[in-house]
Amino acid sequence: MPAHGVCRRQTQKMIPALIKIGILIGGLMTAAAYFVLLERRMAAWIQDRIGPNRVGVPLSLFGFKDLALWGFGQPAADGLKFIFKEEYTPAHVDKRLYVIAPIVILAAALAIFAVIPFGSMLPPLDDFGIPTGGDPVQLVVAPGVDVGMIFVFALSSIAVYGVILGGWASNNKYSFLGGLRSSAQLIAYELPMGLGILGVVLAAGSLNLEKIMQAQVNGPWFAIAQPLGFLVFVIAAFAEAARLPFDLPEAEQELIGGYHTEYAGMKLLLFLVAEFLHMITASFLIVILFLGGWHFPWITGPADAEIGWLTAIIRLIVFNTKIFLVIVFFMMVRWSWPRFRYDQLMSLAWKIMLPLGLVNFVAVAVMQEARHALGSKAENLGWTLMVIVFSWGICIAAWVVAAWFNPLITDNRPRRMLATAEVDSQI
């Protein structure tokens, strides 16, 4: 009896988990493909072009007129092109690491989604023949992981391996430079990112992403309660995803293609998909940590009540709309900002982002301590408003101070003798 019971309980856990993994991987891969199309269309829109709008359903194969469908067939065409391209491996590369690098980066990027919720929850599914034991289905592959946030951090630090190995195994100076730049950038921006997260974790009292979302249902969204942390986190997230103001690892004008210069065909596709997944992960984290997750005032219901199908679907729609909007924001920033220079990138990380993150962390700690000291008196609207005013004041003050003592200022006077001094300082 006990053996049977344990096995059945394990199956009961396994089947929903496997279904969720299937949905997630299928959904993410498709989303990445279609976001490429969206990015190209947005680029065209911003640059006053039309963009790819021709590839639709090729009905002319069956003797009908082709359907254009606003270019919705473009991702399939791109994917097929990548798959059928020659899998060319240059002779001078380190073969094993050259193959492993794209696998590592994509596996790490996908494994992060084990703890990231992609919605709130569904009502029990027993009526549909899926054994969930009468509990609501949490829309996350591994529900209740108490270290969720650090898990995300750990796997994003594994992604560095893919980049650095890809750059080194290619045995090409440009690739190696790209790999080194990228890993230095990722390591540098992990600190401000961690500080941004720390404020949220302190306020929510948990590292569990689901609980962090619940804390924002009961209180204000953390983007409103901790604007400074939000700013620091968003900027660091751009750097971690290597999106345009920070896309030095593959700055075309300097490094050809950065660490994936020597890659072609399917392996290049793996790198590109992993990069897109990093951006999608960043958007998920921004929404979950700072923009309230599935919560929207008045329409999504309280956090701990029984959930019906209508509420579940509204929550899913709210959550995914927010993520979509953040991704659109990522894409708009790409065409609005010039790239940083490498020393500016590093100064920004260490001289601006890190102190601002620390200021935010201390401010949040002070507020939490005050709330504990006040006890039950702190559970009203007036207190919440005071917290918001205080944190916005801190945010503006810190921003002004950072701007006043601007360490990013560069001396652009004509220089001849300066060259040696500056080269020394770079080392």
Binding site: V6, D146, V147, W168, L180, G205, R413, L418
Partner: protein, 288 residues
């Protein structure tokens, strides 16, 4: 398992009948053969012996209950051990670092398997994510060709052999100690379950000692509980507060030291820029 326990007694016969002992012996010979040296087919023979040793070792340990747990445990530990062996037996330092990272990931997996979520994740963040990446940086920049000059250095056969067998001895002693501890823990747990049963039986009569016994016998669940992280934080910052603070201060001192070494003897950038500009102006003036 019983063989393992009995191996504590200085009895040649029981030692010879203990499978873990033979596993260690075969494993250390295999490891010695797999080390980078000039023996023909050394890697292959060493690998085969290592796999035999792993099999022998696995057969001597108690089985875990559902077969899925057993399979996952064996898979992760095999990956960890094989990666660890490959770390010391591969020739190229870059591959050594990669294998080391894999073995750390395996260790993290074992922590996860036992419910120590934080320890597992922290292992990945600190070791695989930070320290090994730094190693990798240094190795890649220092010896881009794959083989460093110190690879040609020979330590002779004695050092290699001695280190391999010393490692085997340490593993053997640890195995025996931990095996005994595990056995004791199992016995204790059995007693505890018995006590709980007695307590629940006597609870129906609602006697005071019965309730106390039930309270005492209830195991405190630290790992795998809902508030795993909160409990860990409470323990760290109450019972081990001084150690945490000392470790933090040590790291801060190391950080300050590293910065002071890095800027040692260098003037500030602004000063140098000003100086260079002044010199520049002076040269221009002299030329005029």
């Amino acid at each position: 398992m019983s063989g393992l326990l009995l191996a504590f007694l200085p009895d040649i016969q029981t030692i010879c009948s203990c499978r873990s002992f033979w596993a260690l012996l075969v494993g250390s010979v295999g490891l010695w053969l797999a080390m980078p040296q000039r023996i023909r087919y050394g890697n292959t023979i060493g690998g085969v012996l290592g796999i035999v040793a792993l099999g022998l070792f696995a057969s001597d340990w108690p089985k875990l209950f559902p077969w899925t747990d057993q399979a996952v445990f064996w898979l992760i530990s095999a990956v960890t051990i094989i990666a660890a062996v490959a770390t010391i037996s591969s020739q190229s330092p870059v591959y050594c670092a990669i294998w080391f990272a894999l073995s750390l990931l395996g260790t993290a997996g074992l922590f996860f398997f036992n419910g120590a979520e934080f320890l597992g994740v922290a292992t990945v963040v600190v070791y695989a994510g930070a320290i090994v990446v730094t190693f990798l940086f240094v190795i890649m920049l220092a010896s881009p060709a794959g083989h460093a000059s110190y690879d040609r250095l020979s330590w002779g056969w004695f050092g290699r052999t001695a280190s391999v067998f010393a490692a085997a001895a340490i593993v053997g002693i640890l195995t025996m100690l931990l095996g005994t501890l595990k056995e004791q823990a199992i016995v204790k747990q059995r007693e505890q379950t018995a006590a709980t049963t007695v307590a629940t039986l006597s609870k129906s009569h609602s006697t005071e000692p019965g309730r106390i016994a039930a309270k005492a016998a209830k195991p405190i669940k630290v790992f795998g509980s809902e508030d795993h992280m909160a409990n860990l934080g409470k323990v760290l910052f109450s019972q081990h507060l001084i150690s945490v603070e000392v470790a933090g201060t040590l790291l801060l001192a190391a950080l300050v030291g590293a910065i002071s070494i890095a800027i040692h003897g260098k003037r500030r950038l602004e000063t140098r820029v000003e100086e260079a500009l002044r010199q520049d102006a002076a040269t221009a003036e002299a030329r005029a």
